[in-house]
Symmetry: C2
Subunit: 414 residues, 2 copies
């Protein structure tokens, strides 16, 4: 699919990220209360205002009257397609409505972005073979790196929806109970091994009330965001047996402010399956996407340094497979459920999506671009970038950024 | 504290469970739409109707206009106390309002009960030392039974709020991926080791946005329900390494329809700590409760057989400690969060709160009252009972029941 030209010049730039082919959805404040917006070029189109003015018609009653896209998701794929079709008609080069639409544009620069949807529940997966092998080797040795179930089901765990924040929200270094291998007793201390995880988040846009196939699951996914699942590795190492990560993952999970709809990513589908799966997890078509990703670390008062480059096509399980697996037990899924892909690591050393891997558990500190890091330092800003490269255009995700603030004094000191 | 006598005779029966000392909160349908109700004797008091009629005043605007108690919870402990004080004044023996209140009573028999609150997020813990030792011995051997962290932090994992259902809702035997020790490959099959877990659920009634102390956590807990965390042991055994239980716990979790407020349980507090904890988890007073519990199994077309009797005071960690631990990382807690205590097992064989333990993983099938069970059979109904025995009265929880329906045909067969 070629570039769909818009009457906004900034939307036609080949590397801009927000062409008419993309139309990602966010919630913004330009002036007044937060409202639904669509990124186009260097502008945000006020979709709430457009709907109120009668220029968008998504349903018999207003859909965008709340600052979040859950209500549109709940209307289903026909409404999703209608939104894209109507926005395309309004913004297309030569569109007759140009003069009526133009007043609803606001510069992205200067707008404040909010959570683009209400997270119903958050599930995080562990679906990159490279990541699972790296982490497993460090935690359990090379021989037991990949758990026996790993090649047969997408391993995941339930996370904490209340801790999901939008890009730009600072993250406070947490305290927690830790016990080093040489410690006689555990102690309560600020996490000394605080880490990022480069992930993609899939947003469930339709509910289910029983097992769904991979094909149906694929249709239920409304769109994707960049996701940083901040992780306290020292807390995790002490707590995770036998019931999995808990407080180590509950400080915050950051997401990018723009939901890139599945429809915008359709031209970038790509298969990667290596080993056949049981029927309930088999894909009938390619369900991963070719999305180039990179992570920048910006030290306090410093310049950004790219610490990892990878691609979402490196994943072993797609979000559709993860969602299908999530429903096998009859688990009801709801509009607004967020599924983290799991850390996206590639095969090479510089394509690892966490400092845990990049510094090999701190044993081989990462040295690049003038910085040395085992884990994150106070004041570090982590920024995730992602996009799919089309022919003369790019489907950009915007960025997902967060700055690590120093730990507060002991919250339990008397 | 002695019995507070009500003008309803049925509320003054020593073993009735719903005296004026209790006042548990539910959502019911007698005729018309679901509304908030309070159990008293053998009646439900229509609290929504009382408030609309001006006989209850909880806030400047209506609080009980939605069928769920979350809005009252959000108002905080003063409003919780005001509700109890006003209900007590209305229902007390000799209360002048008796004639005006009586029309708002409906028999419990025949009323349909609904979820008493909206579950924000669901967390399940693992806080009975006996249960953890039993399960650990079966899964990892006696020497590694209790994980090294177990005596230092309340181990928990995030569950799935969407799967929480009210007592009476049937539960469908799930399918899932399983692999027996002798299987060369995993297979997709109905769970053959479907189990119950006897638990108490604590309901978070006030939000937090940073670490809270155990004392503050205790004040945030609005009340308690009985909770059955249905568990597919064969799915769990295959999936739980390394990130914990996932689909094995996502079919359903049943809760009793009445929230017993913390205030009603205050006379039954009891301490049990054995080993000192780090300061952030230390209790300043007794925070467990003396609540007698038992589990009945009723085979299809059969009579109830009591398969376990235990007490909540057997727990190693209180809900307040679990909630405090839940916040250590900064994890935001929200009104309506539900914390499962973990399976409540006592020291004796007949006080184990799951069939996994009662049948020792199926190796020693439970034989009692004419039934033989390793795990649940289709048509079995599990009913949890619980109550705290006072002087001349009982704080009852009502029951938490669910019937296991047979698995559906393979949902992925083509």
């Amino acid at each position: 699919m070629p570039l769909i030209r818009a009457w906004l010049d900034s939307a036609n730039r080949p590397d801009g990220g927000f062409p008419l082919n993309n139309l990602p959805l966010g919630v913004f404040t330009a002036n007044g209360a937060p409202r639904c917006g669509v990124a186009i070029g260097d502008q945000i189109l006020d979709a709430t205002g457009l709907e109120q003015a009668g220029l968008l018609e998504l349903n018999a009653t207003l859909v965008l009257d709340h600052p979040g896209w859950n209500k549109l998701m709940g209307l289903g794929p026909k409404a999703w397609a209608a939104l894209r079709a109507q926005l395309t008609a309004l913004l297309r080069e030569g569109a007759p409505a140009q003069d009526r639409v133009a007043p609803f544009l606001h510069p992205i620069d200067g707008a404040q972005m909010h959570m683009p949807f209400t997270v119903a529940e958050f599930t995080d997966f562990y679906a990159s073979r490279h990541h699972a092998t790296n982490v497993g080797t460090m935690f359990r040795g090379a021989e037991n790196a990949l758990p026996p179930n790993w090649l047969h089901i997408p391993i995941g765990y339930n996370g904490r929806a209340s801790s999901v924040v939008v890009s730009g929200t600072p993250v406070r270094r947490p305290w927690g109970q830790v016990k080093g291998p040489d410690d006689a007793q555990p102690r309560f201390a600020p996490s000394a091994r605080f880490d990022l995880e480069l992930e993609l988040g899939a947003i469930v846009g339709q509910p289910s009330d029983g097992p769904v196939t991979v094909a149906d699951a694929d249709q239920m996914i409304f769109g994707y965001v960049l996701l940083n699942d901040w992780s306290a590795r020292d807390i995790q190492a002490w707590e995770y047996q036998p019931l999995g990560p808990f407080q180590s993952k509950a400080t915050a999970t950051s997401v990018s402010p723009w939901i890139v709809m599945s429809a915008a990513l359709a031209p970038f589908r790509t298969p990667t399956r290596e080993v056949p799966l049981l029927p309930h997890l088999q894909e009938r078509g390619p369900m991963l996407y070719d999305i180039a990703l990179h992570v920048d670390l910006t030290p306090q008062d410093g310049q950004p340094v790219t610490i990892a480059r990878t691609n979402y096509r490196e994943m072993y399980y797609s979000s559709a497979q993860q969602l299908a697996h999530h429903t096998t037990s009859g688990c009801p899924m709801r509009v607004g459920d967020l599924l983290g892909s799991g850390t996206i690591s590639g095969p090479t050393k510089d394509s690892r999506g966490s400092l845990l891997e990049l510094s090999w558990g701190g044993k081989e500190p990462l040295q690049t671009g003038g910085i040395t890091r085992s884990f994150l330092e106070d004041g570090d800003t982590i920024t995730l970038h992602g996009g799919a490269q089309g022919d003369g255009y790019r489907i950009g995700f915007g960025t997902c950024a967060g700055t690590l603030l120093p730990a507060l004094p002991d919250p339990y000191a008397r």
